[in-house]
């Protein structure tokens, strides 16, 4: 019974990871990765780690991959043209290299497993309270550091991904975070590739238009007027 479950989910994991790596469309890759994660979570349960399995589903499949999908849809990432990887020779070389790497890894890691016979799964290994004890006693410092790491990541991601504010545009390249030419791109909003406006472009175009209407309204009328007059007369133009 256990062997059957293992075989099914191991093949599923391997198959879906091949789809992740080989499919041209990033959306299909991401959805296959969800399947891979799900299969690996089942394997975790078989190995006596139900908490980790649930966490993998909750965090990885439930949050991180949704973020991936969100960004893929936002940036309108298209399908890759041609053979993924470009040249045939490059593809073959990479696959062979990976295989060789796998063999080397196997030869390296296998002996560390020790004796072939495995002891029965102890209740101790599976217990949740035991995991919590060890995590918060022995590994308290790494736990706190990981918390700090996540905070840093959140701040970093927010700073890197947001649109440069008007001050930063005016204040020069350095203030905007070191990437040259952001000013021209951000100002022109929808100046994307021919015909393929991504959701991000439309969002930014809408934002900058709304911002400029709001600025006009403030200048002309000097009040808190809604900046949503599509094509109408400028508010406050007629006193």
């Amino acid at each position: 019974m256990e062997t059957a479950v293992f075989l099914v989910f191991a093949l599923l994991a391997l198959g879906s990871s091949l789809v992740v790596v080989a499919h041209k469309s990033p959306i299909y890759s991401t959805l296959s990765l969800v399947l891979t994660l799900f299969s690996v979570a089942v394997l975790f349960v078989l190995l006596g780690a139900p908490f980790i399995a649930t966490l993998q589903l909750l965090i990885y499949a439930g949050a991180i991959l949704v973020l991936f999908l969100f960004v893929i849809m936002l940036l309108n990432v298209g399908r890759e043209e041609g053979i993924p990887g470009g040249h045939r020779a490059q593809l073959v070389a990479a696959v062979l290299g990976a295989l060789a790497f796998a063999v080397a890894l196997w030869l390296l890691l296998r002996p560390a497993l020790g004796a072939a016979g495995t002891a029965p799964l102890t209740e101790e290994l599976v217990s949740l309270s035991g995991l919590a004890q060890e995590l918060f006693a022995e590994y308290l410092l790494p736990f706190e550091i990981v918390g700090l790491l996540l905070l840093v990541a959140v701040i970093g991601a927010t700073v890197v991904a947001r649109r440069p504010t008007a001050d930063e545009l005016a204040g020069g390249v350095l203030a905007a975070g070191g990437a040259a030419g952001i000013g021209g791109v951000a100002g022109a909003g929808g100046m994307g590739g021919p015909g393929s406006l991504s959701a991000l472009d439309e969002l930014e175009a809408a934002e900058s238009t709304a911002a400029s209407w709001a600025a006009d309204a403030d200048r002309a009328g000097g009040g808190a007027r809604p900046a949503s007059f599509p094509g109408g007369a400028e508010p406050g133009a007629r006193p």
Binding site: T54, L58, A61, V66, L69, M73
Partner: protein, 341 residues
């Protein structure tokens, strides 16, 4: 009968009961929604089919089955066809960790009244519920239609934002209980008071996040009828559309059952102690009574409030609910350490 086989049979019976109830909730909810909204809007509502219009849902089901099944030619077929079904799976599966009765001894074997007595009970519920996003995302993307895409972008960001507040409010319930299993939560509430009293803020956060997680008004921007045509399910007709709103109702039911179990004592009532299979039946009835109250509340809120705008929605999720949930957690943790809870 061997131990393994009898466990399997017990699980099969529990599954049949649970599925029977969950799948039948949908037509009942359709009727409740339509008559309830009519009541609130001072109009009769469906009253032609059967007494009080009770067979309206049956008529709707027949209509959906016979409607022409149109698949637009420009859609991404595999994703388009998979999305509705994929929405049903998490909705139905999450109910598996909810206890609906006391432990029963049948022919010498202890049978728990839970379909899946997992060690990580509540976490498993949250994990599977978070997989529900994918069906909305796939539907919106596959439809090859900018309104659907917008709907699914909004859906994905809304769902992951409110998932955080939901998870934190659930964690606050778990802290005094010291176990993820829902039967222990119910047990705790039997010996103390229902969790809604000491953790009212947590319950409020949970309730609001539950509305957002199920895409119910006032958080139904992904389906926003007046803005996005029909949001992520624009290109779906007939039975596929019916599948989408079936999965919405079923996830509402599961989440209500979770809320009832976490905050209102689940299948227990103070003072009622029935054991054996009769106790299981009573427990099931009590649980679904509470779920019915939640569902009625869902319907009530839907026809009362206007929809949130996207930026208001995100602001509420991140700047209001998350800090409240964290505050609730800190207070509960402090009280637990202090021995009060």
């Amino acid at each position: 009968m061997s131990a393994g086989a009898s466990d399997l049979l017990a699980t099969a019976i529990k599954l049949a009961v649970a599925l029977g109830i969950l799948l039948n909730v949908v037509p009942v909810m359709v009727w409740v929604e339509r008559r309830g909204s009519a009541l609130m809007q001072d109009r009769p509502g469906p009253n032609r089919l059967g007494p009080l219009g009770l067979f309206q849902a049956l008529a709707d089901a027949v209509k959906f089955m016979f409607k022409e099944d149109v698949t637009p030619s420009a859609v991404d077929r595999p994703l388009y066809l998979m999305a509705p079904v994929l929405g049903l799976l998490p909705a139905l599966t999450t109910f598996a960790v909810i206890p609906f009765g006391p432990d029963v001894t049948v022919r010498g074997r202890l049978v728990q009244m839970v379909i899946a007595p997992a060690q990580t009970g509540v976490l498993l519920f949250l994990a599977i519920a978070s997989l529900g996003v994918y069906s909305l995302v796939m539907a919106g993307y596959a439809s090859n239609n900018k309104y659907s895409l917008l709907g699914s972008i909004r859906a994905s960001s809304q769902l992951i934002s409110y998932e955080l507040a939901l998870t934190l409010s659930v964690v606050a319930v778990i802290v005094p209980v010291s176990s993820f299993q829902l039967r222990d939560v119910v047990d705790y509430q039997q010996h103390h008071v229902w969790n809604v009293l000491p953790q009212c803020i947590g319950f409020l956060v949970f309730l609001i996040a539950a509305f957002a997680e199920t895409n119910r008004l006032p958080f139904d921007l992904p389906e926003a009828e007046s803005e996005l045509v029909a949001g992520f399910h624009t290109e779906y007709s007939a039975m596929r559309f019916a599948t989408f709103f079936m999965s919405e109702y079923i996830s509402m039911t599961s989440l209500s059952a979770l809320g009832a179990t976490l905050y209102f004592g689940g299948w227990t009532l103070p003072g009622v102690h029935v054991s054996g299979l009769l106790g299981a039946a009573v427990g099931l009835a009590v649980l679904f009574g509470k779920v019915a109250c939640f569902l009625a509340f869902f319907v009530w809120v839907r026809w009362t409030f206007p929809r949130f705008r996207y930026d208001q929605l995100m602001r509420l999720g991140w700047k209001v609910l998350l800090p409240l949930a964290i505050l609730n957690l800190i207070v509960v943790a402090a009280l637990t350490i202090g021995g009060i809870l």
